[in-house]
Structures are given as structure tokens and as C-alpha cells.
């Protein structure tokens, strides 16, 4: 156990808020200063999050960097934060992508820069809070709070149908998580008036109740992931969001759903898992195939990538519910991978959009000639997303499929087929964007500038680092995952025994 008294996580949570307040106090006209402060805050948060990785004890089960303080003592609700192998990399992903997102909006955002940056920073805190909360109410607070800045980002700085997209995003996710609140309250009362996750894990909840609670939690997470058929907010939000919004949305926000399953739904309600796992797995499979097919039919690059997210998140959910160490660890890693790869794709689409103000595939073609650096980045990122070995996506997908194959061959086979489809739609996108004769409209297209390269470069480095040295990550992920899966499956075994 890390016995540092240094409140690293709290500091990490507070830093972006402080940055946001500072940004809000700066004079409106000093946009460069505003951006600088925002970026500096993000970098500081990134740096601050690094010790989480380096001081994380891989062999230790349970949470590390824990902090517990009374929050609402009257109701025994505490401010309890901590990380384990499941959340560690999501925290790091958040700090990294936040910095990337802020840097990527340097020139893309020209109106109300101050508000924009402040919202980005608030968003960062909300997301970090989701991943480090170990109290159910604290989690719910961050969970819901993360909606607000994103909805505003989409609705204020988005595309033409931005208001529809923002409202859809907000209402979908809020309605989805409404029942989770009731379930949390029920859980809190059954657990003897505590909402502390570690304490709740050892509380006895009757199986019939677990089923209902699981359903309520699962619905909230399913909307966020999103699972078919609850996914339609995602393309709308992605297409309309500003680039940075898409990066955060795909990179981090969707992970909150998958993370919710791993952190809450599965360990808290193991008795309900056998009942729901097949259905959720099937929805995930539908998502994999369906998302890929719909992506294939898209004319808009962003919505293509958005639907690819539906497919990719399907893999993660599939792995989660396979409940083998391989599949779940793979799912955790794949969350990071998807964040990096899809974030990268959105970033690149944003680079194009900033130049040409169109995202339609038919408006491009052959631009690898005019923008070789862009083209190379795009191909690398697309290949990472397709799951090319040696890069990040492969390790995640492979371990997920391997772990799934162990428990259900048919699921694994269908999901593996999904990889074929993934190659299809992404290569179509590459083909129509980069290859073919140069579309005359793009003759003045300029290549990526130094800032844009600097934004992309860390992502690409991580594509390869994760792909080649995944054990740097797995060694920290595995203990938490193994504890979790063995808990869930053991409880399940006990339940099955007692049924007989």
C-alpha cells in the first residue's frame, strides 16, 4: 500500500478547477494568455498524474493512493478516492488527452475562448473524478457533472446541428443514469447506510435485488458505452462536437461506461451477472458488427469514426463480460487504446476540417500528395485502430478475443469477424481521403504544422509503446482484474452450488 500522505489524487482533481477559475478571471481579450494558462494547467495535471504510474505497486491488490475524508457525515457519505489497476490508466489517459485536446483547439476555437478553456478544464476534473471515486455518491456526482461541460462544448462550439446533438447527448445520458441514482440509494440503504465501495463489496445483497440493481446500473453504463440500440446519441454528438470535444468524448467519456461495469456493476452484483452477461455480450456483438456496417455507409468522416467507436466499444464490453483475466485485462487496456487511436483519428479529422471546413469523404481524395505528414499519421492511426500487430489496438483486441474464446467460441468468432469489417470501413476511409487522384479542391491544402505534429506525436508514440511493451501496462492492470474476476466468478460458483 502506498502510504504517501501526499494527497495526490485530490490535488489532481483540484488542479484543473483551479485552472478554470484562473482562466475565468483573466481578461477576455487576452486569448493567447487564456490558452496558455489552460494548456499549462493540463500539462501540470499530466505531470502530476505521472507519479501515479511510477509509484503504483503492481503486486498489491486493492486501492492505492487512497484518501478518505468525511463529506456528508450526517449520511455517512465520504470523499473516498483511490486508484487500482483498472482505473490507473484511465486517469493517465484523461490527463494526456485533456492536454492533447486543449492543444488541438489552439486555432480551431476563436469565439469565447475563455469559456471554452474553462469548460475543458472542468471537464477534466469531472472525468478524473469518475475514475478515482470510491464512494457511490461521489461517483454519481462526477458522473453527472461530466455531462454539463461536454453538452455546452458541443452546443456552443459545435457544427450546424449542434443544439440537437447537445440536447440529445445530455438527455440520453441523463435519462440513462436516472435509475442508477435510485439503485445507488437502494444499495446504500441495503449496505447499512454506507456508500463506500470497498465496504459495499462485502455486504450481502439478496440475489433478486442484485438483478434489479444491476439492471439499473447496466442501463446507465450501456447508454454511455454506448451499446446498441442506445448509441444514436453518439454519432450526433461526435459529428457536431468541436475536435477537442470529440477527442474527449471518444477518448474518455465512453470509457466511463465500460469502467462502470468493471468497477461497480460486476463486483457489486455478481449474482446478477450470469443472467445479464449473455444479453449484454450479444448487444456488444451486435454493436461490433452493426457499428462497422453503419460506419461503412457513412459519407462523413467523423460519423464514420463515431460508428467505429460503437464497434470498438463493443469489443470492450464483450471482453468485460467474458470475465476471464485475459479478456478483462484486454478490455481495460483496450479502453486506453481506443482512447488514443480514436482520439487520434478525431484529431486528424479536425486538422482537415480546420483547413477545408468539410468532413465529407467526397470532398477529399488523393491528399496524401499534398499533405504527406498528415497522410502518414492518418494511416498509422487508422492501422492502430484496425488492430495492426505491433501497435496498441492489436494487444487489446487479441487478449479480449482470446479471453472470450475460452468461454464462448461463437462470440469470439463473430467478434473476430468484426475485425474484418473494421479493416473494410477504415481502409475505405483511407482510400477516399488520401488515395486516388487529387481532388482539385484540395490543391491548396497545407500539411500539418509543428503544433499539430506535436499534438499527434505522443499518441503515435503510445501506439507503439503499448503495442510492443504491453506488459508495462498489464503488470499493473492484472492484479486488480484478477481479483475482480475471481471475486465475481467465485460468488457465481457459490450461487450455482447453492442452487443445486
Amino acid at each position: 500500500m502506498n502510504s504517501m500522505d501526499f494527497p495526490l489524487l485530490s490535488l489532481l482533481l483540484a488542479l484543473p478547477v483551479a485552472g478554470a477559475i484562473l482562466v475565468a478571471l483573466l481578461p477576455r481579450e487576452r486569448t493567447e494568455l487564456v490558452k496558455g494558462v489552460a494548456f499549462a494547467t493540463c500539462v501540470a495535471a499530466l505531470v502530476l498524474s505521472l507519479p501515479l504510474y511510477f509509484n503504483f505497486q503492481p503486486g498489491v491488490t486493492g486501492f492505492q493512493f487512497e484518501e478518505v475524508t468525511d463529506w456528508i457525515p450526517g449520511l455517512n457519505i465520504s470523499y473516498h478516492v483511490g486508484v487500482d489497476g483498472i482505473s490507473l490508466f484511465l486517469v493517465l489517459l484523461t490527463t494526456l488527452l485533456s492536454a492533447v485536446a486543449v492543444l488541438s483547439s489552439w486555432t480551431a476555437i476563436t469565439e469565447q475562448v475563455k469559456e471554452y478553456m474553462a469548460l475543458m478544464l472542468l471537464m477534466e476534473t469531472a472525468m478524473l473524478g469518475v475514475f478515482v471515486s470510491l464512494d457511490l455518491f461521489l461517483f454519481y456526482v462526477f458522473w453527472e457533472a461530466s455531462l454539463i461541460p461536454m453538452a455546452l462544448l458541443i452546443g456552443r462550439w459545435g457544427g450546424t446541428r449542434r443544439i440537437y446533438a447537445a440536447i440529445k447527448f445530455f438527455l440520453f445520458t441523463m435519462a440513462g443514469s436516472a435509475l442508477m441514482l435510485v439503485a445507488t440509494i437502494v444499495l446504500y440503504l441495503w449496505g447499512g447506510g454506507t456508500s463506500d465501495l470497498p465496504k459495499l463489496l462485502s455486504s450481502q445483497i439478496p440475489a433478486w435485488l442484485q438483478v434489479w440493481l444491476f439492471a439499473a446500473f447496466a442501463l446507465a453504463f450501456a447508454v454511455k458505452v454506448p451499446l446498441f440500440p442506445l448509441h444514436t446519441w453518439l454519432p450526433a454528438a461526435h459529428v457536431e462536437a468541436p475536435t477537442a470535444g470529440s477527442i474527449i468524448l471518444a477518448g474518455v467519456l465512453l470509457k466511463m461506461g465500460a469502467y462502470g461495469y468493471l468497477r461497480f456493476a460486476l463486483p457489486l452484483f455478481p449474482d446478477a451477472v450470469p443472467l445479464f452477461a449473455p444479453w449484454l455480450s450479444i448487444l456488444a456483438l451486435i454493436g461490433i458488427v452493426y457499428g462497422a456496417l453503419v460506419a461503412l455507409a457513412q459519407e462523413d468522416v467523423k460519423s464514420l469514426v463515431a460508428y467505429s467507436s460503437v464497434a470498438h466499444m463493443g469489443f470492450i464490453v464483450l471482453g468485460t463480460f467474458a470475465l476471464t483475466p485475459q479478456a478483462v485485462s484486454g478490455a481495460v487496456l483496450q479502453m486506453v487504446n481506443h482512447g488514443l487511436s480514436t482520439g487520434g483519428l478525431f484529431l486528424l479529422v479536425g486538422v482537415l476540417y480546420e483547413r477545408r471546413h468539410t468532413r465529407l469523404l467526397k470532398d477529399y481524395g488523393g491528399i496524401w500528395v499534398k499533405a504527406p505528414i498528415f497522410g502518414s499519421f492518418f494511416i498509422i492511426t487508422a492501422l492502430s485502430s484496425v488492430g495492426l500487430p505491433g501497435m496498441n489496438g492489436f494487444v487489446g483486441e487479441f487478449t479480449i478475443l482470446l479471453g472470450t474464446f475460452r468461454v464462448n467460441v461463437v462470440y469470439a468468432a463473430i467478434a473476430t469477424f468484426g475485425i474484418v469489417l473494421a479493416a473494410w470501413y477504415l481502409l475505405v476511409a483511407v482510400r477516399r481521403l488520401l488515395f486516388g487522384p487529387l481532388n482539385p479542391a484540395n490543391t491548396d491544402l497545407s500539411d500539418m504544422n509543428a503544433r499539430e505534429i506535436a499534438v499527434m506525436l505522443p499518441l503515435v508514440v503510445f501506439f507503439f509503446v503499448i503495442g510492443l511493451f504491453p506488459n508495462l501496462f498489464f503488470q499493473k492492470i492484472n492484479p486488480a482484474v484478477e481479483t475482480m474476476t475471481s471475486q465475481v466468478t467465485q460468488t457465481r460458483a457459490v450461487a450455482e452450488m447453492s442452487n443445486e
Binding site: 440529445k168 438527455l171 440520453f172 440500440p229 444514436t232 452493426y290 456496417l293 453503419v294 460506419a295 461503412l296 455507409a297 457513412q298 476471464t324 483475466p325 485475459q326 485485462s329 484486454g330 488523393g366 496524401w368 500528395v369 504527406p372 494511416i379 492501422l383 495492426l388 500487430p389 505491433g390 492489436f394 494487444v395 487479441f398 487478449t399 478475443l401 482470446l402 479471453g403 474464446f405 475460452r406 469470439a412 468468432a413 473476430t416 469477424f417 475485425i419 474484418v420 479493416a423 473494410w424 481502409l427 475505405v428 483511407v430 482510400r431 488520401l434 488515395f435 486516388g436 487522384p437 487529387l438 510492443l468 511493451f469 504491453p470 506488459n471 498489464f474 503488470q475 492484472n478 484478477e482
Partner: protein, 660 residues
């Protein structure tokens, strides 16, 4: 011992790749042209020394595992970044780097007209391919092999699409004697060809991946040695399924029926790429994989039979299509498919060493043929239609003569490398089943015919397109010297595996013996099969005759009686059209998979996503708002109404309490 540092063979091209990829554009083509081939040459040297190291070891110890780092470990799953250097993999290293080096050198000349950026990019991709292929062949477990397997696919994708700006390549129709035009399907543009290659390969990889999963769930490991060691204890049904799944991958990668369709289109790439990837090395990965997994395949006779059948049918099938192709590279492409079929026939009947032998000789002569074809294209400004060539032997003697040697080897002309390797396979097939042998022999006849048809049409006779002809010139030395070296290999490569009836050792089988030692009756004694010497001589003779017959027929049709082919085409018009259109398989696939896939995608996007799901959601939202508006209409503004409603409310509340 350098074999402990076998990773250097990968590291050198990797260094070259990084160097050329990051700096190549700035440093100019001179540096690129040295670094690219140079690093591959270094890799070759590493391979050579590794081979010598192996020889120095006792036969049973000739398998060195070098673990670089622990790659993935999750739960009970472990996969290392580990390389396996044994005779089989070192042979592949030598073929890949050797032929690869020559093709690199050739490319210096071939790509000279490209702008600096593309020139550097080309060598970067080529080096990337060498790296990937070496990972594939040096892997010591199925996962790492799968890594290489996919990576070569990407290189193939990138290199086929190298000239991504080009559009579709329309083909002149064939004019029959009665003036009727038989349209020839257009060639896909490079970008689409690359995409097609990648996706079709992924279909094969789908099977391969499932095979890998099944291996792990069955054996609990992906390590070759452990898997093969435990294989005999596993239920044969499982082994059959595993091998079949792996073979699906091989079918995709090695362009066998029914997944061969990408390879002809892959000819849209630059010719060195066709030579290196789509003839000499990558496409043979499937054969290598089966040979590598021989311990499993030997336990799965059903699969082996499937492999042999797919091989021989593909061989014959592709050969028939090659008969009528007018595109020189496509003739060679179909011949590659056909020759790969031979190799699968070999490994299918259990003659793994023979398969590897043919793989090696094929690498020599097919690389040679492609490079020579490339030399022609280089001379004619990328014209590849043999109907526009003719008489080139005067203009390009070195290209011509090397092409002749390649063609002879391909056709199985006695004493060339291809003759020995093909004959060995046929003999093995005969031993297994005369039917397979007969089909193989028929293919050999066709091979001789179509190879020399192309040769005669392109190089003999008189110029058909005078302007082109005048423009033609011999290629520079940097291109012709690799041709000459490869011609030497194609001519004399047979000495690696002379039949034992000639009274000499089968060198290659001897070399590979440690790798296949676990198989009874394989290895050095393998060629000493159950056939009597007389029968063996007879088969040898028959092969020679068939090869000569094929060549002779081609001469008869295209030199002696140039009008006959057209007559035949008219007489068997339906057959001719069928062949020209490649049995309509591409159209069939479009009809069965591509178009329905696209239609389904559109239906999902518009029908389900937009109409159904969003319709329900948006409609539901509208309904709720409408309900609100309806409630608002209750709010009439009249006090009397409000008072009445309140009064009724009071009555209801009171009644509830009263009647409860």
C-alpha cells in the same frame, strides 16, 4: 555465436526503415539507395552466419530460441518476443533477405523516376516488409507469427497502393477474327487493389486468429515447441479443426482458392513489389506456416488432404486463367497462384521439404521473371500489355535472356531449378495419389504453354507498336545485374535438391532434416521414397516431356502459326470468354459479398439507425412535448374551471379518505 543475435537480422532493416522513413527525404536518394539495400544485405549476412552456426551444432540441437522480452502476460497467458532460429527459419531468412537484397538493388534503378519523397517512402516500405517477413519466419510462437503475418499484409497493402494516385487501368478488348470484341475486365487502380488485398487477407486472418485462439485454449500455450510436443496427446478432431483454421489463413495469404482474388489485382503495385512480396516471399508464408506446423498437420490427415486438394485445384485453375491473360504481370501472377498450389500440394501430401524446396526455387525464378517483366515495363514506359510488345529480344538482350531462363525454370525445363523441385513434388504426389499427380502434370503442361506464350508474344516476332518499340531500351546495370544473378540461381538452384537417383545428396532436405526430424520417413531419406528407381526415372522423364510439350505447343501456336490462337478463341468462344473474365469469380464475389454488404450497411445506417431508432427516440420526445402542450391546454385561464377542478379534487381526496 551470431545466432544468439539473430535479432540483428531484423534490427538492421528496422534501422534502415527508421532512417529512410524519418530522414530519407532530406538526405537524398543516394543515401536512401545505399541504406535500403545495404541493411538488407547485412541481414542476409547475419542469416548466413546464423546458418553456419547451426551447422556447427549437433543436428538435434539446431533450434535456438532467443527471447528478447516478455511481450504479453495476462493471467495464464504468456507470449514472448522470442525468435526461433532453426534450419527452416534460417532458410527463409536467407531467401527473404537474399532475394530481397537483389530486388532492393533493382529498385534503385526501377524507381529512379520517382520524386525524392516517394523514392524514400518506397525503400522505407520495402524495409518494413523485410522486417515484417523476418518476424513472421523467425517467430517462435503463433502470436508473433501472427504479428508478422499481419504486418506483411500491411506492407503489401501500402506497396500495392504505392501509386495511389493512378486511376483504373482500362484494358483493350481482345479482337477476335470475326471482328467481335471480347472486353477484358479493367484492372483495379492501385489504391483499390491494395484495399482489396488487405481485406481479403483479413478474411483469411480471421481463420488464422481463431486457430490461434483454439491452440491456446487447447494447449495453454502458443509456443511452437510446447504445442508440437503436446500435439500427439490431443484429440485428433481438435487438431483437425486447428489445422483447418490455420489453413484458412494460409489460403488468404498464399492466394489459394477461394481467396486468391486479391493477388492478380496486386499487380497494380510497382513491379519490384510484385517480385518480392507477391511472388518470392510473402505469398509463400502460408506454405511456410504449414511446414512450420507440420507436427500438427501430420496428425490431421483430413486437413492434409484438404490442403493437397486445394493446392492442386488452385494450381490447375490458375493455370487455365493464365492461358489467356494479355497483361504480362498478370500471367505471372496467375502462374504464382498456380505454383503456390504446387507447394500446398507438396505440404498436403506430407512432403514438407519438397514444398520448401519449390518455395525456394520459385522465389528465384519468379522474382527473376517479375523483375525482367519490370525491366520491360521500365523500357516501355509502364506498358504491360503483351499485345503491344513484340520483338523486344533485339532491344533488350539481357532482359530477354534472363526472362528465358526464368521461363524455362517455371516451365520445368529439364535441369533448371524449377524442374527438380516440381518433379519432386509430382513424384511425392504420385506416391500419395496418382490423380493428384495427373492434375499436377496437366498443370505443368499448361505452365509451359502460357509461360512461353507470353515470352514469344512479348519478345519474339516483330514490333506491334512501333512507337513503343523505338522508345524501348535496355535497362541500366543496377537492374540487369540482379537479373543476371537471379538467372544464375534460377538455372542452378536445382543443385540444392537433386534427386537421389542421380546419386547425390538432397542438400536442402539434409539441411532441413533437423526441423522435420520428428516426422517419420521425412528428412534426408524423404526423397528416397517408396517408388522404385525405374518408376522414378519414368516420372522424371515424363515431367521433362510434358514441359517440353508445353513449350513446343506455345511455339506451335504463337510462332509457327500465329493465327491459330484467334481461331481457337472463336471456336471456343464461351470458354474463351470465361477464361478472359477469370471465371467471373470477382463478379461473383461482388454479387455475393460486396454488394450485399454495402446494401446492408446502407440499410443499417438509414433504415435502422436513422429511421427506426432515431425515429422512435425523436418521436417519443415529440410525443412527450405534445403531451405537455395538451396539458397546457387544460390551463384555460378561467377561474371557474380552476375552481371546479379544485372542487373535484377535494371531492376525490375526501372520498379517498372516507372510503379507504
Amino acid at each position: 555465436m551470431i545466432i544468439q543475435s539473430i535479432w540483428l537480422a531484423i534490427a538492421f532493416p528496422l534501422a534502415g526503415l527508421l532512417f529512410n522513413g524519418l530522414l530519407g527525404r532530406r538526405l537524398g536518394r543516394g543515401v536512401v539507395g545505399i541504406v535500403g539495400p545495404g541493411t538488407v544485405a547485412l541481414a542476409f549476412v547475419v542469416g548466413l552466419f546464423a546458418g553456419l552456426d547451426l551447422l556447427a551444432l549437433p543436428a538435434q540441437d539446431r533450434a535456438i530460441v532467443v527471447t528478447l522480452w516478455n511481450w504479453i502476460s495476462v493471467g495464464s497467458f504468456r507470449a514472448g518476443m522470442s525468435l526461433l532460429a532453426d534450419p527452416l527459419s534460417v532458410l527463409m531468412v536467407l531467401v527473404v533477405t537474399g532475394v530481397g537484397f537483389l530486388i532492393h538493388v533493382y529498385s534503385i534503378g526501377y524507381m529512379e523516376h520517382e520524386e525524392d519523397r516517394l523514392y524514400a517512402r518506397f525503400f522505407t516500405f520495402l524495409n518494413l516488409f523485410i522486417v515484417s517477413m523476418l518476424i513472421l519466419v523467425l517467430a517462435d510462437n503463433y502470436l508473433l507469427m501472427y504479428v508478422g503475418w499481419e504486418l506483411v499484409g500491411v506492407c503489401s497493402y501500402l506497396l500495392i497502393g504505392f501509386w495511389f494516385r493512378r486511376g483504373d487501368d482500362p484494358q483493350d478488348p481482345v479482337r477476335l477474327k470475326d471482328g467481335e470484341l471480347v472486353p477484358v475486365p479493367a484492372n483495379l487502380n492501385p489504391a483499390d487493389s491494395g484495399k482489396k488485398a488487405f481485406i481479403v487477407n483479413r478474411v483469411g486472418d480471421f481463420g488464422f486468429a481463431l486457430g490461434v485462439f483454439l491452440i491456446w485454449t487447447t494447449f495453454g500455450t502458443l509456443n511452437f515447441a510446447d504445442v508440437f510436443g503436446a500435439a500427439p496427446e490431443i484429440a485428433s478432431g481438435t487438431v483437425t479443426v486447428i489445422t483447418l483454421l490455420l489453413f484458412v489463413g494460409a489460403v488468404g495469404k498464399s492466394a489459394q482458392l477461394p481467396l486468391y482474388v486479391w493477388l492478380p489485382d496486386a499487380m497494380a503495385g510497382p513491379t519490384p513489389v510484385s517480385a518480392l512480396i507477391h511472388a518470392a516471399t510473402m505469398v509463400t508464408a502460408g506454405v511456410y506456416m504449414v511446414a512450420r506446423s507440420h507436427a500438427l498437420y501430420a496428425l490431421a490427415p483430413t486437413t492434409s488432404l484438404v490442403v493437397a486438394l486445394v493446392g492442386v485445384i488452385t494450381a490447375l485453375y490458375a493455370a487455365t486463367i493464365a492461358l489467356v491473360q494479355t497483361d504480362l504481370k498478370r500471367v505471372l501472377a496467375y502462374s504464382t497462384i498456380s505454383q503456390l498450389g504446387y507447394m500446398f500440394l507438396a505440404v498436403g501430401v506430407g512432403a514438407y521439404a519438397s514444398g520448401m524446396f519449390h518455395l525456394t526455387t520459385h522465389a528465384f525464378f519468379k522474382a527473376l521473371l517479375f523483375l525482367a517483366a519490370g525491366s520491360v515495363m521500365h523500357a516501355l514506359g509502364d506498358v504491360i500489355d503483351i499485345r503491344r510488345m513484340g520483338g523486344l529480344r533485339q532491344k533488350m538482350p539481357r532482359t530477354y535472356w534472363t526472362f528465358v531462363i526464368g521461363a524455362l525454370a517455371l516451365a520445368g525445363f529439364p535441369l533448371t531449378s524449377g524442374f527438380f523441385s516440381k518433379d519432386e513434388i509430382l513424384a511425392k504426389a504420385f506416391e500419395f495419389s496418382p490423380i493428384l499427380w495427373a492434375l499436377g502434370l496437366l498443370t505443368a503442361l499448361l505452365t509451359g504453354f502460357y509461360t512461353f506464350r507470353a515470352l514469344f508474344v512479348a519478345f519474339w516476332g516483330s514490333a506491334r507498336d512501333q512507337e513503343l518499340f523505338d522508345h524501348a531500351h535496355e535497362s541500366p546495370g543496377v537492374m540487369t545485374w540482379p537479373l543476371i544473378l537471379l538467372a544464375g540461381l534460377a538455372l542452378f538452384g536445382g543443385i540444392l535438391g537433386l534427386p537421389q537417383i542421380l546419386g547425390v545428396d538432397h542438400a536442402l532436405a539434409g539441411w532441413l532434416h533437423p526441423a522435420f526430424a520428428d516426422l517419420e520417413g521425412e528428412g534426408a531419406e524423404a526423397i528416397h521414397h517408396g517408388l522404385s528407381a525405374g518408376l522414378e526415372w519414368g516420372l522424371l522423364g515424363l515431367s521433362s516431356v510434358i514441359a517440353l510439350l508445353g513449350i513446343g505447343l506455345a511455339y506451335w501456336f504463337y510462332v509457327a502459326n500465329p493465327g491459330w490462337p484467334a481461331d481457337l478463341a472463336v471456336r471456343f468462344k464461351s470458354v474463351f470468354k470465361l477464361l478472359v473474365n477469370k471465371y467471373y469469380v470477382d463478379d461473383l464475389y461482388d454479387l455475393l459479398f460486396v454488394d450485399p454488404g454495402k446494401a446492408l450497411a446502407r440499410f443499417c445506417a438509414q433504415g435502422i439507425d436513422n429511421a427506426a431508432i432515431d425515429g422512435i427516440i425523436d418521436g417519443g420526445a415529440r410525443l412527450i412535448v405534445q403531451g405537455g402542450a395538451w396539458l397546457g391546454r387544460l390551463q384555460t385561464g378561467f377561474i371557474r374551471h380552476y375552481a371546479l377542478a379544485m372542487f373535484l379534487g377535494v371531492i376525490v381526496v375526501v372520498a379517498y379518505f372516507f372510503l379507504r
